[in-house]
Amino acid sequence: MRALAAGAGAYAATQAGLLSLLSGVAEAASSSRPTIVVASKGDIPGRVRAAVQALGGMGKFVKRGGMVVIKPNMAWLRKPETGANTHPEVVAELVRLCRAAGARAVTVVDNPVDGPASRVASMSGIREAAEKAGAKVMCAPPPAMYERNQIKRGKVLKQTDTLRDILRADAFINVPVAKVHGSTKATAGLKNLMGTVLDRGAWHQSDSLDQCIADYATQVRPHLIVLDATRVLLTNGPKGPGRTKDLNLIAAGTDPLAMDAYAVQLLEMRPEDIGHLQRARELGVGELDLSRVNIKRV
């Protein structure tokens, strides 16, 4: 009996990182109305600070000595002006805030679509900005850094290989940019999570890409989502070249679906029309109806 308890305890300890992620699900389910904060004043770092502050400050998400993983959209061989990747200043400011909150290590990571990865990291401006702010940047981590991850509630996606650092992180911050998408119509936080898995091709080859995205969102939940709507891409997403619009907004929240619904609205589309968001709602990932979300403007 004691051995069983010890075994269970050891198992729980090794899955500590995973559990901290899943606790987010419980939190979201118990709170009544999710909150989104939208910052529109000041320069980019100022907006990021204002948004995070309005949610209670970075200290709410990052504990002293914790390990933080930031996942921007750093997937395309494009310069910041094109709106294809997350703006480097957004990432840099988040890194600074995490370090100020006492994080032991901050890692900025993505598995890019374009290559060579080193070129993607530098052309997007994120490598330089993030390293200067004190983070370690990993673009295209080698296969050894991924870990088999079971998607318990997955309807189509049953298992995948996720970045180990994300599974073990004390704080996982998702920093997508709002864009239209040739395949899924729109891409924001949920789609951004595709950059944390090793084999994306399998999702495309599956019965439903939309369902895979939704399934994954039930398993891997960021603690904080910061949406970069500085410059959004309105045509020919996700890579462009296309028509961009300067909205100069930074949004932050903890409900992944609410954040995505907000992003889709900014793209002049309806959240109900986006397949993977509908399916995520059915799986209880979060709130899709923006009328049931507190949107605070700062």
């Binding site: 002006e81 679509v113 050894a144 180990r164």
Partner: protein
């Protein structure tokens, strides 16, 4: 004194071999090569293809075949020519990296003085080979403009690539040397990267910092993302090994009997004022005859063949009587300058040269299709050339198959042709999109080509260079055939050449062939294994059109694309474009 010079020579050999390897290693990340458009060069910088440019045989071949003075090559090749006029084949003994490699291998293999001079007939082979090569260069070459009706009769072929030692060594290193070197270094770096999981490093920040420094040093050394793989790697290594192994028959067998560059420098050296003189102190011990690396000393030790001597200073150093010295007056020297070529063999050499040029032309793939102004070879659906490449006939003439472009290619897409384009094109670079796309922001191959078979181009210009056209195989595409949500090709396309055909809400890819340049991003990323459902074909190749015409076509197809603030991502820096535009003649690039 003589042994000191000998030591100096060895140092010089090591220095130049090291320089060769360092420059080779730098290719692809040096600021001179605008790899991926990093900044503009201002002023002169050491070109990483220095050795290829300085090779007089390659320079001669390129200029003769293209019927053009190529100033960039001339600046570097001229000093070597002058050096040879003054000192004979000193390049072979003091500079040539192939010679050094052979010497090193022979030293390691324990091959020492192998008997007296090689029988004359073998020695002449390199001169006959040179004759054959000169003939191939002199034959009517391809015109630069494919609109000339005589294109189908062009006979020019750059055969030099098979036998020039610098081109050979560069190619061997590229095809069979880079990948193993990178595997080793990448392995070391990846072991370093797993530090985040290693508890060892967590408690020791000093260790982490040290490992990081090692890691970034290693990453700087190699292309950090993946080692390049090449076709024909084993074959090229086998050829190099074969050349070195010939040392089993005689020391520096290649240099003595086969090297056409050595033959050319030997001919130039006939005018050299410096000669060796053997005094009467000579006891006819014949040590010099046995030790001579080139077998240049005749059975009578007071006589030696001028066109063979590489000034290795071995004879001067080993002579027990110190009877050998360097003088200027011809009367006292035993230097024999005659090449002793048999007329019949010279004619045979010329015949071989002619045959070498004609043979590939009777290969069935030499038949050209004649579709209006476009002239392609029948076998060449996958003969996708690098951006900026000359039209096909001029290209196979100018390309020396050195492999520099493949080495610098940032995505490992450039591979030696083997089958595409027939016999004539073997070894020339082709794009293999499944190995890697032609990256939108990379201009490396145009910078690296020493003979300007690939003409330089800027980042912005590249968007208008049509290499081919992508085609969707609808029977294999998972969207068209199986109704799956994909469109990865559309995601990957940097030029917005793929549109969506939507059926019941499901998008399926359709290529706009007026916009598609054939870069291969789509084919590279298509998740359908093994060869992709969307594939690039050479049929969109528009090399017969001028760059201005190609640009006009592209802009007509997608007006407003890639212009203005929206798409600020892909403009070449102004200074770089300026430099290319102001070049003294098409293709000149300092």
């Amino acid at each position: 004194m003589h042994s000191r010079v000998r030591r100096l020579r060895r140092l010089s050999q090591i220095a130049f071999l090291t320089g060769f390897l360092v420059l080779f290693g730098f290719a692809g990340r040096s600021p001179t090569l605008h790899s991926l458009g990093d900044g503009a060069a201002s002023g002169w910088r050491l070109p990483v293809d220095l050795f290829l440019r300085a090779d007089p045989l390659l320079a001669l071949s390129a200029m003769l075949s293209l019927r053009q003075m190529l100033l960039p090559l001339l600046w570097y090749a001229l000093p070597v020519v002058v050096l040879s006029l003054l000192l004979g084949r000193v390049f072979c003994g003091w500079v040539c990296p192939m010679g050094t490699a052979i010497d090193l291998c022979e030293r390691i293999g324990g091959i020492r003085g192998r008997g007296p001079a090689q029988a004359p007939p073998w020695r002449r082979v390199k001169f006959y080979l040179l004759v054959a090569l000169l003939l191939t260069m002199l034959l009517p070459a391809a015109h630069r403009s494919p609109r000339e009706p005589s294109l189908s009769q062009s006979l020019g072929l750059s055969a030099v690539y098979l036998v020039d030692p610098i081109a050979l060594l560069t190619r061997t290193l590229t095809l069979s040397g880079v990948a193993p070197a990178q595997w080793t270094i990448t392995f070391a770096r990846d072991v370093n990267l797993v530090w985040t999981a290693a508890p060892l490093v967590e408690k020791r920040p000093w260790l982490e910092a040290a490992l990081r420094r090692v890691g970034s040093g290693l990453e700087w050394l190699v292309r950090p993302d993946s080692p390049p793989y090449f076709r024909l790697g084993l074959l090229s290594f086998a050829i190099f090994l074969g050349i070195v192994a010939l040392g089993g028959f005689a020391r520096r067998f290649w240099c003595r009997n086969l090297c056409p560059l050595g033959a050319l420098l030997g001919v130039l050296g006939k005018l050299s004022p410096l000669r060796l003189r053997v005094s009467d102190k000579c006891t006819r011990c014949l040590r010099c005859v046995n030790e001579c690396k080139m077998g240049a000393i005749l059975p009578d030790p007071k006589q030696y063949r001028g066109p063979e001597c590489i000034w290795c200073y071995t004879c001067l150093a080993v002579c027990p009587e110190k009877a050998i010295s360097v003088i200027v007056r011809p009367a006292e020297s035993g230097r024999q300058d005659g090449l002793d070529l048999e007329r019949r063999r010279v004619l045979e050499g010329m015949g071989i040269g002619l045959a070498a040029v004609l043979l590939p032309k009777v290969d069935w793939t030499a038949k050209r299709t004649q579709a209006g102004e476009k002239v392609l070879k029948l076998s060449s659906e996958r003969l996708i050339r690098p951006p900026g490449a000359l039209p096909e006939d001029a290209f196979v003439t100018a390309c020396v198959r050195c492999g520099e472009c493949m080495k610098v290619c940032s995505t490992n897409t450039l591979q030696p042709a083997f089958g595409e384009g027939g016999l004539e094109a073997v070894g020339t670079p082709v794009l293999v999109p499944r190995m890697g796309p032609c990256a939108e922001s990379c201009v490396a191959c145009g910078q690296a080509c020493p003979t300007r078979a690939i003409q330089p181009f800027g980042m912005e210009e590249k968007q208008h260079l049509f290499l081919g056209t992508a085609n969707v195989d609808r029977s294999k595409c998972i969207a068209w055939s199986y109704g799956r949500q994909c469109m990865v090709c559309d995601e990957a396309c940097p030029y917005d050449a793929i549109q969506a055909d939507i059926l019941h809400g499901l998008p399926r890819p359709v290529v706009d062939d007026r916009v598609c340049v054939g870069c291969g991003e789509c084919e590279f990323r298509c998740p359908v294994e093994p060869r992709g459902a969307i594939r690039v074909s050479a049929s969109g190749d528009k090399r017969h059109l001028s760059r201005a015409d190609q640009r006009a076509l592209r802009e007509a197809a997608s007006p407003g694309a890639k212009t203005g603030e929206e798409n600020a991502g892909s403009e070449a820096p102004a200074a770089e474009q300026d430099m290319i535009d102001k070049a003294p003649y098409p293709g000149a690039y300092p």
